[in-house]
């Protein structure tokens, strides 16, 4: 390039840059900023801010609807309402392996997943299969109207029963 051959236009010391290098740096930096902005806005655009999905809080109805010592699956909400001698608890019916809906086998007294063969007992503890974690216990409480309520988004660490 002719400018580079001209000693007056070339940088005097390594710290200085030529006019052309300066503009290239500005151009590359602005393109990089624009690309980062585009990536951020694309990510925001692709993440929905409002989800028209069912509420995580489920009204499981009156406690009397559940027979003593029973496990009841609601396939729509994917929860088990378990009634033991002492009280009630809610168990997620979604397998911890890859998210399939499990089913309660009343003749064997176990919860089984049809997809990859995981089996759990009625406390959600894994008996066999590829599931990495037990089925989580979900937060359950009694509403003012006397209905059993379950929050599917909240797992409870300590196993606690709702006593009626």
């Amino acid at each position: 390039m002719p400018e580079d051959e001209n000693p007056k236009l070339a940088p005097d010391s390594p710290e200085e840059m030529s006019r052309r290098q300066f503009f290239i740096k500005i151009g590359v930096t602005s393109i990089a900023i624009a690309a980062a902005g585009t990536a951020a806005f694309s990510y925001e655009y692709l993440s929905p801010n409002v989800l028209y999905e069912p509420s995580p809080i489920v009204d499981a109805g009156k406690p009397d609807h559940y027979a003593p010592d029973s496990v009841t699956l609601d396939p729509q909400t994917a929860i088990y309402v378990v009634r033991t001698g002492e009280g009630f608890f809610a168990l997620s019916a979604i397998c911890t392996h890859l998210g399939c809906l499990t089913a309660y086998k009343s003749d064997l007294g176990i919860i089984a997943c049809p997809c990859h063969g995981s089996k759990f007992n009625r406390d959600g503890v894994k008996i066999e299969g590829p599931a990495p974690r037990p089925l989580p216990w979900l937060r359950m409480w009694m509403s003012d109207e006397g209905n059993l309520m379950v929050d599917r988004s909240q797992a409870v660490a300590i196993k606690q029963l709702v006593r009626v």
Binding site: S47, P48, Y52, E53, G99, C100, C115
Partner: protein, 251 residues
């Protein structure tokens, strides 16, 4: 009879309109034959000459060409299926059933699309094995192997996104399992799943996203990389002739 037909063909090819579209003109010379390929936007991706033995069945088993053939069938049948399919939650399954039982030739088009999709996945793998075991990926063809791997991934993603569209039990649980596999990615797994499904569960947003990916985004990527793939065959010296001494390994 044959003479008059030849005369008619010659007349058409000498016609001014024909000549304005196909500029290379008539003639049997090597130059004319080269120009026919060179001056055609589709054919110019290919070499103007090919060795006879690379055109034989044994050279490639025509696996790449057959893969492209199934892709073309999938594009045509796919566009026709789009005319009856609504990507919305209660409607998608009913539309799929309508295509099977109500729409004239619907079951034919749907099955053609379905079987061609299976055939394409099989042919892509077969093509890949053929290229691998014949060493056709070696210098100077390494980059075309990379393009081929991208095309394999695009094919598998097309297959996976198409799997959800019938919106039956198999589709629903397959995509539930698949999206949970994606969420096993370290650190950003849950975010990837959220972006993929457009929500926290396989639902209306997921169906729409998979539909757009299946019908627009992934086919565009496939066409782009297929074009580069074909063009690289020419740039890398045509189809691998399988002659070890003339290409590689002579040292």
């Amino acid at each position: 009879m044959a003479n008059t037909l030849d005369q008619f063909v010659d007349q058409v090819r000498e016609n001014r309109i024909w000549r304005s579209i196909f500029r290379s003109g008539t003639g049997e010379s090597n130059l004319h034959k080269s120009l026919v390929v060179q001056q055609n936007v589709f054919l110019h991706l290919f070499s103007i000459k090919a060795r006879k033995r690379t055109m034989e069945f044994n050279a490639t088993w025509y696996l790449g060409a057959l893969t492209f053939g199934t892709f073309m069938i999938l594009v045509i049948t796919g566009v026709l299926l789009m005319l009856y399919y609504h990507p919305s939650v209660p409607q998608a399954y009913a539309d799929m059933k309508d295509l099977q039982y109500v729409v004239s030739s619907g079951v034919f088009l749907r099955n053609l699309h379905r079987w061609s999709a299976h055939a394409m996945v099989f042919l892509v793998f077969a093509h890949m094995f053929k290229v691998f075991y014949r060493g056709a990926y070696r210098t100077p063809r390494e980059f075309n192997w990379v393009i081929g791997v991208i095309l394999l991934l695009v094919t598998l993603l097309l297959s996976y996104t198409g799997y959800l569209l019938p919106w039956d039990q198999l589709a629903y649980w397959a995509v539930t399992v698949g999206s949970n596999i994606a969420s096993a990615v370290p650190l950003m797994g849950a975010r990837i799943r959220f972006l993929m499904l457009g929500g926290t569960a396989v639902n209306a947003n997921a169906l729409l996203r998979f539909y757009v990916l299946h019908c627009v985004i992934l086919p565009l990527f496939a066409i782009l990389f297929i074009a580069v793939h074909f063009w690289r065959i020419r740039k890398d010296g045509g189809i691998y002739p399988g002659d070890q001494s003339s290409e590689v390994g002579s040292q």
